[in-house]
């Protein structure tokens, strides 16, 4: 355990007979935590930007009377305002959170996402945009470092591509997840198949799509690379895809954090902070 992590010795056994596996190299750990912080800022500043025009459309332009999704506030028959989320022809009362919420100090304000969810907390599109674009660059640079390192170190393949036996036992992995039972010992040295596929979709699908859909909204990029906006079916479609992808990333983070909690918070956190992950007591060694 005290030994410095060396590539040729990614595993060690301590005096108590516990097996330790050097699971996460430094670059991966740094990229992970930077990514977590950057995504949080991007999400909250993104909600700030969304609040400036809280409606989504499909196609090139906005059809103002007929949005695909809208977060608004309206006056009910009793004269009281309420927050409403409208998706197509369905609407949902979301008073208190979406459309109508309380600002710091308790005053009711009409805004799509509430103050606690946006950066800045106040309605301030200009500053929200500045946060968003600066951190978008950090996301891209951090992502590029991660991908290049992962590609050349072999970490990306090892982490994201399921092995043959894992694909064959896909059903078994589903069952393990449903029972919240997770691999131990040598099996824990690699991610399980569902884990690998989820990370694969996130790293090579959702996050790049997020960046591309963001760029597709830029009038400058649209002039330079018109095919990019076309790829998403127009600027307003790109905006909607950007929003949906953000929702999927939030969903990923929620499930990810829950699974970290139920599959051993301390071991997982230690792994992502120090790199070392416990594989449990080695029976043969203990004997």
């Amino acid at each position: 355990m005290a030994a410095s992590p060396a590539l040729e010795a990614p595993e060690t056994v301590d005096r108590q007979g516990r097996r330790w596996f050097y699971r996460h190299p430094l670059v991966i750990r740094l990229a992970h935590w930077i990514n977590a912080a950057v995504l949080l800022v991007l999400l909250m500043s993104g909600l700030q930007i969304f609040n400036a025009h809280p409606a989504l459309y499909w196609g090139a332009v906005s059809t103002f009377d007929d949005p695909a999704l809208a977060i608004t506030s309206e006056q009910g028959r009793d004269g009281r305002s309420r927050g409403v989320v409208t998706v197509g022809t369905h609407s949902l009362d979301t008073t208190g959170v979406l459309g109508l919420s309380r600002a710091e100090g308790g005053t009711e304000v009409e805004r799509a996402f509430p103050a606690w969810a946006t950066l800045p907390a106040d309605q301030d599109l200009a500053t929200g945009r500045r946060w968003h674009f600066l951190f978008a660059w950090l996301l891209v640079i951090n992502g590029a470092v991660y991908l290049l390192y992962g590609l050349f170190s072999g970490q990306l393949r090892r982490r994201l591509i399921p092995d043959g036996d894992q694909i064959r036992d896909f059903g078994g992995s589903v069952k393990e997840h449903l029972l919240l039972r997770f691999p131990e010992g040598t099996q824990a040295k690699r991610y399980n198949v569902i884990q690998k596929l989820t990370y694969l979709v996130l790293v090579l699908g959702l996050l790049p799509a997020m960046v591309l859909a963001g760029l597709a909204m830029s009038p400058g990029m649209d002039a330079a690379w018109p095919w990019l906006t076309e790829l998403f079916g127009g600027r307003q479609s790109a905006r909607s895809v950007h929003f949906i992808a953000a929702g999927l990333i939030v969903l990923f983070v929620v499930v990810h954090v829950l699974l970290v909690l139920v599959s051993g918070l301390v071991n997982n956190m230690r792994g992502m902070i120090t790199g070392w992950f416990s594989l449990g007591r080695d029976r043969e060694h203990a004997r």
Binding site: V61, W137, P219, T229
Partner: protein
Amino acid sequence: MILHRRKLLTGGAGLMGTALLGGCDRFAGTETGRRTLQVGEDANLYVQRLLMSPATLAREFPAAMISPWFKPNGTIDPPDRAYRALAAQKFAAFRLTVDGLVETPLSLSLADLRALPSRTQITRHDCVEGWSCIGQWAGVPLAEVLKRAGLKPQARYVVFHCADTLEYAGSQDGAFLRPGHPGAVREAYVQLAAAEDWGGAPAATDAPKDDWGQGSADSEAEDKRTPIRYYESIDLYDAVNPQTILAYDLNGKPLPVSNGAPLRLRVERQLGYKQAKYVMRVELVESLAGIGQGGGGYWEDRGYEWYAGI
């Protein structure tokens, strides 16, 4: 147990979020914070210009894609008496001033502008708020106007001085009139129109003698406050682009007042707030330092990016 953990988790995340928010907002309020956040804009400008040339055109669309309603935004009915006097006479007395770092200052009527070479383009207008509309614009390429005025070698930026007052310097009414973001202006004016009677057609019959953008001669004689009228700027990179036009027609008809009559800028590779409406004066300058608070435009001086390509 899981429930307990979940509670801890949400509580913890909430606390962290609040701390982060407060910290971020404080950071953004400092000079260092402001400068740091500006790095993203510089990177966007640099990289986008690597990917395009001055002549790269924004996408043009078929006539069938023109939006049935082109959402007017920002000022939709300038409150200024001088402007209203011009509008009442269908802009017959309108003159566009071209001055600053030019060899030959120009004063052009609408007829003069329409006699110059024209360009018609169907483009998408992207508001900073997120919405888009497609419209057909016709106007004179800015490059044609600049060619006739002749640029002095020091000229770097083109500044557009507009007719519409957005607020009054240092006044409480300014706060009332001042919109929070480009799209909120309309609502502010609706409120204002309800609160104050603008008196319909202006009483003044003589042509306005307002030197637009200099702020020294307020046409509203009874109002001693200094109006802050809309202003914008672009650099020569965008000024010489063929699609950068001073538009006088929208969808085949003279520009309506709500969309910037009689003349508005179209700079198609950037966002809506760069498309200055009610343009009265085109000034060539070497630096933006002397314009407004130095940001290069009304919204730029209120925190928005000067480079609005994203």
